[in-house]
């Protein structure tokens, strides 16, 4: 092995730059964490980056009391919406890559427009539709909105992934006697772990972090945590409890962080899939 020159000037420059970038990225997180464990007194007297005099969990407990219920609302919205949109996206992608029909390319092209539609443009038609369906201001309605809006992305992911799967696999399975759903369930889905992971992460992040749909289509006790967090932070009465705000923000952000940590390695693998066949 050739010896690496760790202390050459160029190496030092590279590492210094990287460390600086790292610090810039991490400082907000550090400030949040430190602040969340401080007492209100401490926050007023110390500076942003100072270590808490006394580490206290009271901010976290208050925060959980305030947004804990909404946390479960978000879980109830996100889990079904993520699972349903991923499954339907997989099925769409399977049809659009392996069972092309007349006009399927056009259909796919139109579907892609869904990826570029700004949320705001669909608010009115969506609330009209939800009202007609009798789903206005319900969790089911919000799930439906997220599924429909997410389909464009999940279909795109799966369709592109399946386009790199040799068509002969499907032909072989057809000759073996397998039908439409058997081929999907027994041959293609087991091959799709990386892209399923990409979809899950993508959809989870999108839906969990959504604010606009949550604030428009859910009300009162059914609101997701993003809306609850906003309400908490923007309350204008009394003294600002920054430790509670920071803790609540951390609670709201933790699940997406967790998803990245657990499934992140699949994310890159899935996004680069198709370049190299497994």
């Amino acid at each position: 092995m050739t010896s690496h020159r760790w202390f050459s000037p160029s190496r030092l420059a590279i590492h210094a730059t990287l460390l600086l970038a790292c610090a810039l990225y991490l400082i907000p997180l550090i400030v949040m964490l430190l602040t969340s464990f401080k007492s209100p007194e401490d926050i007023r007297t110390g500076n942003l980056l100072s270590w808490p005099h006394v580490i206290t969990g009271s901010g976290w407990l208050t925060a959980w009391d305030a947004v804990g219920g909404y946390f479960w609302n978000s879980v109830k919205i996100t889990l079904p919406a993520v699972l349903i949109s991923t499954l339907l996206g997989a099925l769409n992608g399977y049809v659009l890559s392996m069972w092309r029909f007349r006009g399927s390319q056009l259909f796919f092209g139109l579907l892609l427009f869904g990826c570029f539609l700004p949320f705001q443009t669909v608010l009115l038609p969506a609330s009209f539709t939800l009202g007609k369906l009798g789903l206005a201001s319900t969790t089911t309605g919000l799930v439906l909105i997220h599924v429909v809006y997410g389909l464009a992305f999940t279909t795109l992911f799966f369709r592109n992934y399946y386009c790199s799967v040799p068509h002969a696999l499907v032909q072989a399975a057809r000759l073996d006697g397998a039908g439409f759903f058997t081929i999907f369930g027994r041959i293609l889905l087991p091959m799709s772990v990386p892209i399923i992971m990409v979809c899950l992460i993508w959809q989870f992040t999108q839906i969990w972090n959504d604010f606009l749909f949550g604030v428009v289509f859910a009300s009162g006790d059914a609101q997701p945590i993003t809306v609850a967090l906003n309400n908490l932070v923007n309350t204008s009465t009394g003294v600002k409890q920054y430790n509670v705000d920071m803790a609540a923000a951390m609670i709201a952000g933790l699940p997406t962080l967790l998803v990245y940590v657990v499934a992140g390695k699949y994310f890159l693998r899935g996004l680069t899939a198709g370049a190299v066949k497994g």
Partner: protein, 384 residues
């Protein structure tokens, strides 16, 4: 085990597009090995997909055991196929790959185990059953793909260029194995290839295709010795047949072809007398191995002297290139012939083996049988 018959099969991908397959007529008996051979884009793979049911035909009939299957879905046709890419299910073990079709067909588990064991033994892949396809070499994947086809004991096997992804040595080995397998199992087989050696060595019957048309259908020997046109003659055989443009002349009541080199002339008497060809430009077809060194003894064969331009020793043969009628001509001589570039060689031709082609249409001019040896034509000309 089934007789396969194609009647007037047509395939068109869209109105306005030209036909991909044009009036294909073929028939093979139960247990026969049919080769579909031709350059890429000739429609051979499309024809195979039509037989498998992966593509719908636009016209005609596909009969297995006399019953029309062209409207059936692939799973009801009882046909198994080996794909060029092998198409093994990547997430399943070798055992599950072989058993998949049997499970789908609701065979009892004990029977499945028995069948997998039989196939694995036959193909010598017993030690690989627990592995995933990605853990196998190309040759092993090929065997598994064959195993999956064998497991169902279908009426017909289809092979779509199964050897083209293997290296040269393995390809020759697997070719022999496929032939052995077919001799043992005697299952009707259709085999697509673009490799003319595979076509010659494996097939009971060969159909040479080009532009969606069957150019010639017959035994490998018929195709090799009696090609119906210039295309078939040039496609089959390696090194390829020599095509020498020549003028015909009638001398002493016999039809002669005139050959000349820089070192001499020769009048090649044609074995078959055909009226109306005098003074016409034709193409003579002579296979490289049918040109021999002229010996000292006069054996009565016409001979011509020509100057050696290039020699290519291949091991078993010595390929010598000379120029006749301004055309490069390859001669396949014995390897022990000593000749150098610039030497003058006496070459002899057997007139009985020289083929005559029309230079414009490419059709054979001296064929006793009809140009396209389809079943109908055979019947018509032999009175059967």
């Amino acid at each position: 085990m089934a007789r396969l018959e194609l009647r007037n099969v047509n395939k068109r991908y869209g109105s306005g597009l030209p036909d991909t397959l044009k009036a294909i007529d073929l028939a093979i008996d139960s247990g026969e090995f049919l080769i579909l051979v031709g350059p890429s884009g000739c429609g051979k793979s499309t024809l195979m997909n039509c037989i498998a049911g992966l593509e719908q035909i636009s016209g005609g009939e596909i009969l297995v055991e006399g019953a029309d299957i062209s409207a059936m879905s692939p799973k009801d046709r009882d046909i198994a196929m080996v794909f060029q890419s092998y198409a093994l299910y990547p997430t399943m073990s070798v055992r599950d790959n072989i058993a998949f079709g049997l499970k789908i067909r609701k065979m009892p588990q004990s029977a499945i185990d028995e069948e997998v064991a039989r196939v694995a033994k036959l193909l010598q892949i017993e030690h690989l059953l627990a592995r995933k396809p990605s853990q196998l070499s190309g040759g092993q994947q090929q065997r598994v793909a064959m195993g999956r086809a064998l497991a169902r004991r279908p009426k017909i096997y289809l092979f779509d260029e199964p050897l083209s992804n293997l290296d040269a040595k393995l390809r020759v080995e697997m070719r022999t194995e496929i032939k052995l397998m077919h001799q043992r199992l005697k299952t009707t087989t259709v085999y697509v290839t673009h490799d003319q050696i595979e076509a010659m060595t494996l097939g009971d019957k060969v159909a040479v295709m080009k532009d969606g048309l069957i150019q010639q259908f017959g035994t490998p020997q018929q195709i090799y010795n009696d090609p119906a046109n210039l295309f078939v003659a040039s496609f089959i055989g390696s090194p390829p047949m020599n095509f020498i443009p020549a003028r015909l002349q009638r001398q002493g009541g016999r039809l002669m072809a005139l050959l000349d080199s820089s070192q001499g002339r020769c009048e090649l008497p044609l074995s078959r007398d055909i009226q109306g060809l005098e003074a016409r430009e034709v193409v003579l077809g002579i296979r490289p191995e049918q040109i021999v060194m002229g010996g000292a003894e006069g054996n009565g064969l016409p001979s011509i002297r020509a100057q050696v331009q290039v020699t290519e020793p291949t091991g078993p043969d010595l390929l010598v290139f000379v120029t006749l009628n301004q055309t490069k001509v390859c001669c396949r001589l014995a390897p022990d012939v000593s000749c150098c570039i610039g030497d003058s060689l006496a070459l002899q031709f057997d007139p009985a083996r020289v083929l005559l082609f029309d230079s414009a249409s490419g059709e054979r001019l001296d064929l006793a049988a009809p140009a396209c040896v389809t079943q109908d034509n055979v019947a018509r000309f032999t009175g059967r």
